[in-house]
Symmetry: C2
Subunit: 517 residues, 2 copies
């Protein structure tokens, strides 16, 4: 059924809104008579005389009516258009007021001679038509490819993501009920106008308390910047530190969108091997000895994509390096709360780092990918500066939404949701890994992750993940083709998200895997 839902939804929309309706094509009509050139939509909100005026303006601006062109007398035009003359008079008056035309004595109305002459060409033609590709603008940069941004929802019956929560169990309704309740609060009328680019005070206060309690950060609201998703937190932190030519240490492998972002900001990547104990800290020390890099980006807990965790020993060494070399660090701890064995490793940011560790987390990973909320933790001055930078990027977030999520924390509903999720995701992880081993254990390799929402699965180099992905698509199952990770030549792996899959969905997927492998 989903299949049809989706097709219906996607296919119908365009015609619903009349995108292909002739009335929208005024500027591309090629015939000459005004009655054809200017189409009138009587159901439109725009009064008919304005539709006429706008139509004539378009003809002037598209060069179809040139400066000095005499418009038909209003009576004539009324006849052509089959409209009341007073309507035409009003339209002509509109044109005159706006300076498009001028009345010359008794002669009549002319397209203003002050307007320069132009040759017809439309936006689309210039921008998109191959025939004028010689004129194709080149004033903007090309952005290196990450993943298809235009990836639309295909009519898949099952989608295997690379590590998202199951929004079906998230208390999203509470958020929106809360939001609607807040809308009715008179005093909020003012709050909307004076929103804080660092995020609502209530949410920053709740987050400070939550992070202090779960991650021993001992911070206050002044150390918290709320962002529209954790990616914006990485962007903000990196933009505060990097300039063109900066050098950044990253893991090899690493979260691809972080690598691409740093490169976009003009930085050079220094790749340091990641093994089963996390990033090779001794290599980091050698690099710092040569010359101190401008930034180190690390995911010490449930590393992306491999899910390995930095060992206690390396973590302590890294903290020592941070202090000795005053090495700025972005610690991306996107799914700290989802740890299934013993207890999660406390972040670098909770130790003594003298203000050099910028800590990043995600609320999207806790609730649902549709909820775009993340946070950046730093010293009070850093957060103050970063909030000014953020203001230039998006002014602020949705204050009411942030207040609503804050309520989720203060009522304890968020904490209960996390406990429920951890319990459920641990079961899902175990079932998923059992069935995965049973279906493709002979050709794929993975270790059961201690936390997070995905299993890092690698295949023998000769095995084609894109081929596997194609075969699954035939069965209505979407699984990415691993190209996200293949930028590294000796990697043939993929992250398989288990957290968002029900038992039946896991069965369906692993069964299909076995059939198509």
């Amino acid at each position: 059924m989903e299949y049809f839902h989706v097709r219906f939804f996607r296919k119908i929309t365009p015609s619903l809104v009349g995108l292909n309706h002739p009335k929208l094509n005024i500027m591309t009509v090629q015939t000459l008579p005004f009655s054809n050139l200017i189409e009138i939509d009587r159901r439109s909100a725009t009064p008919v005389f304005r539709q006429i005026a706008n139509g004539l303006m378009n003809l002037i601006r598209s060069g179809k009516l040139r400066p000095g062109y005499q418009l038909p007398a209003s009576r004539e035009m009324a006849g052509m258009m089959k409209l009341n003359r007073t309507t035409i008079v009003a339209a002509y008056e509109e044109l005159r007021i706006q300076g498009w035309t001028e009345v010359v004595g008794k002669k009549g109305m002319f397209v203003s001679k002050q307007l320069p002459v132009i040759n017809p060409k439309t936006f689309k033609a210039a921008a998109l038509d191959g025939s004028v590709s010689s004129e194709k603008p080149d004033f903007y940069r090309q952005v290196s490819f990450t993943r298809p941004p235009f990836q639309e929802l295909k009519p898949y019956q099952l989608i295997i993501n690379d590590g998202y929560p199951d929004q079906r169990i998230a208390p999203l309704n509470s958020i929106f009920n809360r939001y609607k309740a807040l809308l009715s609060r008179a005093y909020l009328h003012g709050m909307l106008m004076t929103g804080n680019s660092a995020g609502s005070l209530a949410l920053r206060t709740e987050l400070a308390a939550f992070l202090s309690k779960t991650r021993a950060l001992s911070i206050g609201s002044e150390n918290v910047l709320v962002t529209h998703g954790a990616q914006l937190a990485i962007f903000t932190a990196a933009s505060m530190v990097l300039k063109p030519g900066s050098r950044v240490i990253v893991g090899d492998l690493n979260y691809v969108l972080a690598d691409k972002l740093f490169e976009q900001l003009g930085a050079t990547l220094i790749k340091v091997k990641v093994d089963q104990h996390g990033m090779d800290v001794d290599e980091v020390e050698r690099i710092c000895n040569d010359s101190r890099p401008d930034l180190l980006y690390i995911i010490p807990h449930h590393h992306h994509p491999t899910t390995v965790t930095l060992s206690a020993e390396r973590r302590m060494k890294l903290l020592d390096l941070i202090r000795r070399y005053k090495l700025p660090v972005i610690e991306d701890d996107y799914d700290y709360d989802f740890h299934y064995e013993n207890s999660p490793i406390l972040p670098l940011a909770s130790a003594d780092h003298q203000g050099y560790v910028l800590y990043i987390g995600s609320i999207s990973k806790t609730l649902a990918p549709t909820i775009r909320l993340g946070y950046l933790i730093g010293s009070e001055d850093f957060i103050w500066q970063a909030s000014k930078l953020k203001q230039l990027v998006e002014i602020r977030g949705d204050v009411l939404f942030e207040e609503s999520v804050a309520q989720l924390f203060s009522t304890g509903e968020m904490q209960r949701h996390i406990r429920r999720s951890v319990k459920l995701y641990r079961q899902r992880r175990d079932q998923f890994c059992d069935l995965l081993a049973a279906s493709i254990g002979d050709m794929a390799h993975f270790t059961v992750p201690q936390g997070g929402m995905a299993v890092w699965t690698t295949f023998d180099m000769e095995y084609s993940i894109p081929e596997l992905s194609k075969r699954l698509a035939v069965k209505g199952i979407y699984m990415n083709d691993g190209s996200l990770y293949r930028y590294n030549n000796d990697v043939n792996g993929i992250r398989l998200g288990f957290a968002s899959l029900t038992d039946e969905e896991v069965l369906k997927f692993t069964k299909a895997l076995k059939e198509v492998k």
Copy 2:
């Protein structure tokens, strides 16, 4: 009453969440006995044995327990902590598994000697304590001041913004009802995972149709990038075009956050006078003759802050310059839909610009400042590149939210809301201007704006707007002090937003103005 609502809301939150609770201060406790060093919260979600383990880890990591330190025997520790011994055994096991401690034969458990020695210092101390300010990190940039990002909601009874819609009349409930309905759609489970960084197809399709109809852009969904507020659209467009050292033509005056953003991106501003007919286009031509700038940013319709509109003649000349010099332009048309005299001026983007005009609009200005939605219009290739850049900044928006807003367009509710708003805001504008003239007409100067949501009001240079702002604050009325615009020495003006004020609120404000002026 609002007054108390606000105070209550703001003051209570922190203690509600126990931010100042001793349990959160583990790392700063100075006494030595473990029973004081490690506090147990029996109501906490975290099992007691983990609280013990975490407490001990903190002590190790903060340097209070050094490598080689022997932990008390589990029985001893159990006595000190007044806990069951099995709990302590579990905590010690936790420490050993994580590599913080090692068991040496029968001797007992020691803090691992592989961990380097550190001297106690906390995050906060290093980052915020003046006493170590010599160590204050300087690895990040200072961001030039725009407006106070930390401006919290004061207990004002009335807030005069600089031009926002009245969210009290916006169909926000429809959006959230729609959102909640979408949450229950099974097939959306997949959509959430495969959201498009350019924005949901439904919203891009609706916007393309709406903009084609109201602004004669003749575009398709492939020309639309949906952004988290119009500011992000400006940021994205500018980031696609500018590099450090680029030259940007801006109006004098201009929208401050655009100027600051371009400077933040490393560009130099070339300021061109704005008079009652808009930007001086002849000056733009002189500049292009010298050497072509990299970008021109213009608000031709309801210029910010002055609300003037670019004349038809200058608009045509500018289009000619754009074509002749292949001059990239960002056209910021943030409140096109709110025009009250004759009909709005069609944007530059609707004319022949050969793909050099990037068109920006805002949905926040149509609905409410809390709704963070804007859009960027460009050629298909430009939007494709920009969507990849946007992906690095925030991955994507809230797909369900975008789908919900798309529904507002397809049902025509958005169009009806705009018609209602224009009618209401026109009345509010007229009443506001009448009463403003009556109350401070003797000292302030303004022209009734043809559109938009604010009146640009200037005062004689010797008159102090900050002083006026202070006096209004005493009466519980917030009005910004004009510092936003005073960066230009011969300007002593302020934007007074009328659209969001009811008749009573306008009366209250203008009455107060008269009393305190």
